[in-house]
Chain length 303, copies 3
């Protein structure tokens, strides 16, 4: 089969020539990093937090300092560049071109990252410990770092959440979706989550933007912390940004498949929510909430 460059060009024009293909990431209009650049940056953070664990080789002991410092340098430079592009993208659409504010804000983000990274590591240590203590199948903390999807998801979230707090466009959401893709765990970068958090198995977990989760909370696969309904404005458009997801206090356990909805729903400290429970109102501290045991119909048959 022979396609001429005329055939191709005609098709290109039908698709809508450059700029007509929106959203597109082209120099003049948008100039963002692509998703692959953001994921590469995320992998450097993981290399800093858990040196050698997600690579092909262990890190040579004598090189550990230079390795980690090199990763830090690269990732902070890239972060500055990419956060600047993300702010600038919005800035051009909404206000101006070439103002200095985007540069200043990008610098602030990098400085916050440098300040908070040690604290993030400390929280992740608590997360690892919670996984080790919470899962009878866990043999070592190294196993958790190298293979537990819940730890991967919360590691990414703690970085993405920090960017979200600075209202960085796009980058935190691409990061959290990368974790979702790898783990099946969908944590919106806006969610606030305390230390010692453990998600076991995790596939199908959804944690909404305005959730507030305390310390030492444990969640199983298929749990949704979601919105009950969406408020609309006078013109019938969804209102964005208001509180619409539950709060979960310290030491709560939520078993597989439970669905907890609504911005006014609070799960009190130490409560236990059973598998497949559907809950749209608050429960007090220390509650145990279970579905009545279903009694499926069992027919024995000779075969």
């Amino acid at each position: 089969m022979k396609l001429t460059s005329d055939d191709i060009h005609r098709l290109y024009k039908k698709l809508g020539p450059c700029g007509g293909m929106t959203p597109a990431n082209t120099d003049r209009d948008v100039n963002l990093p692509g998703t692959r650049a953001i994921i590469a940056m995320l992998n450097k953070f993981l290399a800093i937090l858990y040196p050698g664990c997600h690579a092909t080789h262990p890190i040579n002991c004598g090189n550990c300092r230079s390795y980690v410092e090199q990763m830090l340098k690269e990732v902070l430079d890239e972060m500055y560049d990419q956060v600047f592009r993300a702010y600038d993208h919005i800035c051009r659409q909404e206000r101006c071109a070439g103002c200095q504010e985007c540069r200043t804000r990008a610098e602030e983000v990098v400085q916050t990252l440098m300040q908070e990274l040690p604290q993030i590591r400390t929280m992740l240590q608590e997360d690892i410990q919670a996984a080790y203590e919470g899962d009878p199948a866990a043999h070592s903390t190294m196993e958790i770092v190298m293979s537990y999807p819940g730890l991967f998801a919360i590691s990414v979230h703690r970085i993405a959440h920090l960017l979200h707090l600075h209202e960085v466009p796009l980058i935190p959401r691409v990061m959290s979706e990368h974790a979702h893709s790898k783990t099946g765990i969908d944590i919106h970068p806006g969610a606030t989550i305390g230390a010692g958090f453990f998600i076991d198995h995790g596939t199908g977990v959804v944690i909404g933007e305005t959730c507030n989760i305390g310390r030492h909370v444990k969640i199983y696969q298929g749990v949704t912390l979601g919105a009950l309904s969406f408020d609309k404005d006078a013109k019938g458009r969804l209102i964005k940004g208001n509180k619409r997801h539950p709060d979960v206090e310290d030491d709560v356990v939520i078993y597989a498949g439970a669905t907890i909805l609504g911005g006014k729903t609070v799960i009190g400290k130490g409560a236990v929510i059973g598998g497949n429970v559907w809950l749209i109102h608050s429960v007090p501290a220390g509650s145990k909430v279970y579905n009545k045991q279903p009694s499926p119909e069992i027919r024995s048959e000779n075969r």
Copy 2:
């Protein structure tokens, strides 16, 4: 540990020498593209539909035309080659070797692709808009293109479905499974899906081969549109290809975890299906279908 080439060869023979390892993709018997080649092709389609968004860099504005035309040329050439191989694979098994029909059919597929690609883009624009209007957490259409798993899944599906309509073996199924792997959303290439389709979160969604979905339908994570039972022929073998999955009319919303089964089941226009509903019969247009609110047992305890 020292393994000799004799050790290795003995093991090779025990495994069943070349051709004994079936299915294998070896020159004489099968000669298909591998999965990695198909995924590479899919990434080029995404680069055409959303230039620069899934890459490491934005596309330079002056280069956009040459970039997109280059991608078009590559992907259409590869598609011709691979579709031919896929047809030829079946052809050799069932009929002949070296007939020209496979080449003709492969050309027809590429021509259909060239004809339909602009239309696919238009439908995807509607899908993007539906996501923006349907999710209070969406900040921009660019965010949707760069991070929403539902858009990724439907983008892949609209390409795969076109190949499915031409009865191209293997390639559409490998494409849809790639999207399933990345997103947790399993859409069979056979499903017919109208424009303005939005799947939110998406993990665990299953949409069967013979589904027929209208325009502006919205689906949440964990929804199954599946088969109720499988018909068997006189010899007890499953009958392949008959209608066994539901139809969903325009403007329907299906909340998380609902399971809708059966080839005669029709969800009428504008119906709303609540979370975790289990439905095996049709419901009329405008229906609202909810489970009775479960009342889980709540015990408050002093701790």
Copy 3:
């Protein structure tokens, strides 16, 4: 923005210098393969089991022997090296340094692999056949090899389980988590699974460490075979390793979303468990277990 090497070094020290970042995979302390090395090894096993299917090209027929033998040699050498490192890691923590036992045990693992690989292939042939017979949408066995997530997951599991039986640390768990990440199917390497096993769609399936699954079992998406409760020792710590997941006998079918829990639960031969059933006790052979048909409330409305 200008970061000096002093800025970076100060941050490095705050993070906790080399060795302080635990778990880390650095030469002196741990010296494990990283996750990427383990996944590379897994891809070689898949190349041996299904030559050419997961690559970019078919294997040239005349080269098939040399291709497969080359893959065998590489993967067995790498396996020896990596299994040794994994044993050695535990050995250094618990007992000694430089003992020869780790080398001997690593050799035994490679020898078992060489012995069992033909048997694993035979079981996988039965798995492929079960998928073909169990799914009306399957057009060919090649389609199953190239695109079915259930086959991917069980292929990885049959390798990982063999390493688990030899108590190889970390590697089997990283392998199973790789399959989980790609497919949404979480099979613990400890689970024992007979031939002719078919998982359809699969997203959200969880199969626990001490499950025992017979021959020709069929499972759909979202099924959990899990633990009912975790026993604790006198100090309140979880007891690891005891039997806490169900047994499933030959020819059982478990439909989507069913949850079956507990180490004493046995699903008898040929039983059928309906969608979303929640089961924490045994059912006899030939049983059919269904939830009472829920009757969701349907309101038709004029719009």
